[in-house]
Symmetry: C2
């Protein structure tokens, strides 16, 4: 057996264990009774440990070295797979076992404190638990930066979107920061006379039935997946069995449906990955920005549109009753594109969302660089929030304590959301250029042209290329803000 083949066998085990763990996570969020949490955490920790042992086993490094001498016997996918294996090994090997362990414990501790500190707006309590976690995260950043030959904060970004760098993000975010405030003012003027949207309530069961109908229209295969309910919507499961969740608001049917469409975008990506590479690193979805681009492409680009609302309006009437106002396509469209600055990121619309991200990006970079102390977060948060959105949070519950990310050590993740939004606009624009029937088909509820383009240009390529390179290959242009801004202009001022 060649060294490369031996590596494939080892990474197949990692892939299978990862799938098993993902299923146990799904069960945790959807099915598990509360008393199951302790034993489940122990099961998941053991699976994580076995994966770490399997990946950092001394033999893996030897095999990776040996496989380098076999590269002329490998095809392009295999070579890309070998590169992804190296990447995973370098990341795992870069972090000493005691740092991984300390991070895991500090994260658990900080998350527990955060769950109580958030509703109480108790920043001092949070800060006490976050300070040691931040120290460890800075150690991690330094170790990753050294191993991956980049700056410490870039090392963290790498964990979420391989190939992305702060040097790429900075000019994009600077450009958006220059564009959005004035644009937001114009959108607000345009929407000023719209008045409150009419009620659009419906029972959970009816919403769920319609959600399944829309998922099927988008191309979700219920023989290979499920839709369930959880507190926080997510896309989980494992290859061949993709599971998305949502929550329903019985007073506002559109919010739950839009959540389902968003998660369906993630799910279609997972379902479209190449089966032949199912358990190998190269066969996995790209980073978080690329993943978010697929959900935002479905939700924001395709579905919060007039054509989609023309398709949706009669279905809404049919499934949810109500008829009349609720089922009017133009009223639905206005409801779907309403813009309103607020405090909470997860409730933000497409126009104000980047401000929430840029705020967090600035702060977490400064935290990792050592330019911002933990105690300075609330003040810095309020100041930047006001400068970007014209609102100053009244407390930390609606300010720096709102997100779970930092409390579990996820630093470097936030930029993915807005980079994903830029990518989504670029992918969709390219698809609409290549498929002239794209919009008419969406209006008919036919997503085959869109899905076909995504399958060929994104999904089937898995991790064959890194995110920014894949984007350029699929669209002919590098990552930028122009297409996203043009999309905003058309949608909100057009």
């Amino acid at each position: 057996m060649s060294a490369y083949a031996a590596l494939e066998a080892r990474f197949r085990r990692l892939g299978l264990l990862g799938g098993a763990a993902a299923m146990l996570h799904w069960d945790w969020a959807t099915m598990m009774p509360p008393g199951g949490a302790g034993p489940r955490a122990a099961q998941l920790a053991e699976l994580a440990l076995i994966r770490h042992e399997t990946l950092t086993d001394a033999a893996v490094c030897d095999l990776l070295d040996e496989a380098e001498s076999e590269t002329d016997t490998l095809d392009a996918w295999q070579r890309a797979n070998l590169a992804r294996m190296w990447r995973r090994w370098r990341e795992a090997a870069a972090l000493p076992g005691d740092l991984v362990q300390a991070l895991s414990e500090a994260s658990s501790q900080c998350e527990m404190v955060w769950r109580e500190a958030r509703p109480a707006s108790d920043f001092p309590a949070f800060a006490d638990a976050f300070a040691p976690l931040l120290g460890l995260a800075r150690e991690k950043a330094a170790a990753l930066g050294a191993a991956l030959d980049c700056a410490p904060y870039d090392g963290l970004i790498e964990s979420y979107e391989p190939g992305l760098r702060a040097a790429t993000i900075d000019p994009l975010f600077d450009d958006l920061a220059g564009f959005l405030p004035e644009f937001l003012g114009r959108v607000r003027e345009t929407q000023a006379g719209w008045g409150a949207p009419p009620p659009l309530g419906a029972a959970t069961e009816a919403q769920q039935a319609l959600a399944r109908r829309l998922m099927a229209a988008l191309g979700f295969d219920f023989d290979h997946g499920r839709l369930d309910i959880s507190l926080h919507p997510f896309c989980g499961g494992s290859a061949g069995d993709i599971r998305i969740t949502t929550r329903y608001d019985e007073a506002d049917a559109l919010s739950g449906l839009m959540g389902v469409l968003h998660e369906t975008g993630h799910a279609l990506y997972e379902a479209g990955l190449p089966e032949a590479w199912r358990y190998q690193p190269v066969g996995q979805a790209g980073g978080m920005a690329l993943h978010e681009s697929q959900s935002l492409l479905i939700e924001m680009q395709a579905c919060r549109s007039r054509p989609f609302m023309r398709f949706l309006a009669p279905l809404l009437g049919e499934h949810l009753g109500g008829g009349g106002g609720a089922a009017d396509a133009e009223a639905l469209y206005r409801r779907a594109i309403r813009v309103e600055p607020g405090y909470i990121r997860v409730d933000a619309d497409e126009v104000t969302y980047p401000a929430h991200i840029m705020l967090r990006y600035r702060l977490e970079r400064a935290l990792i660089a050592g330019d911002l102390a933990v105690g300075e977060i609330p003040g810095a948060w309020a100041e930047i929030h006001e400068s970007l959105l014209g609102l100053r949070p009244e407390n930390d519950t609606q300010g720096c304590l709102q997100d779970i990310h930092w409390s579990v050590g996820e630093i470097g993740y936030f930029p993915s959301y807005t980079i994903g939004a830029l990518m989504a606009a670029q992918f969709f624009d390219a698809a609409a250029r290549d498929e002239p029937d794209l919009w008419p088909a969406i209006e008919r509820g036919d997503f085959a042209p869109l899905l076909g383009w995504l399958r060929a240009n994104v999904h089937a390529l898995a991790s064959r290329h890194q995110g920014p390179a894949l984007l350029e290959r699929a669209t002919g242009a590098p990552l930028g803000t122009a297409v996203f801004k043009a999309h905003l202009q058309r949608r909100y001022l057009g």
Copy 2:
């Protein structure tokens, strides 16, 4: 670290992986979309392989040897745990890897053939797939017998109920075979004038709500478990999160409820295992006979009784409507203890069930001994079935093809069902002797006295003692038929 402590760490991993696999099995049977089967099978196979590697690692044998020299530092539970570790290691080490692999493949193959052969009554097709599997099972029996120092068929029984031997089973089954035919005739005479039971239909949702109510009364903790629906009822999940399933017959509410009560018996056993030993071999439930004793104790001993039906009758009326006839305790009791010889084991009542087991026991012993050829099964089956139950199957669908067990290589399992029934009678009899309030409490829907006795005398002891020894310790008497026969006399002729 002592060798014993090192072993505990390794077996903790085995316990956690076993729990993870059990959850993935539960999901398969209850939640998984059909397309998930392939990837799930691969995940489970990988987990099984990792467990096998972990258990048969050369270091484990060395540690076991070393731990033997530490026994004077160990307490009684630790010594019992060490003995259970040895037992697991011996069983795993006894079977060469290629035999395990061949058995797994032959089982998958034979099960697939069986799924088609059963409805078609196509014994020749089944025989072609079963003959090679039987050959491998005989090899396995020989290897286990050699490793565990017992006869080959005893080696197979050992996999299901450690400590049980054919030499123990034979006189018990001979005694039952002498008792039951005449007893059955008398029961049939007694019940001859009962007429058909009145209808007792109800919607699935109503049955499920009542089932949960009864589970809670029995002591099932929904913070640590669930009730769901699957094609075949089972008790699964893992420590701290016990999951039972059932199926509902909308035309007969009692059948689904009795299924739930049966599985609740299994679940209460699992939930009562000592938390301190949760992931160690000594902390696991005993064998299949002991496990079945706990489900039969709840279903057959406690619940198919007049006192329970007096508790159930008003609840039935309340949850399922119907009132009158359906909610009459005596009518319910008669419905619950109706005896009627038939062909299908899983549909059999308490009186005829042992005949189904004795039939299978005789045949599988002869198959393993080489005294019966595969082609002779249908004839032998029909002959014994007729001699024990007075009915001759008209085809193999209602004869030797009805069970899945042999098709997946489970030989040596069947006696557990009837040994479990004997144990259930003995445990319950001892509990009723020790707790004078047992029956009045059941009639009030108070299962605390029964559960308290079971916790103290069975559940909390886990695998501290082997099944037959545990029974004798808890009841003061060895495994026998007298208490079971006395129970049958009282219930069916009393």
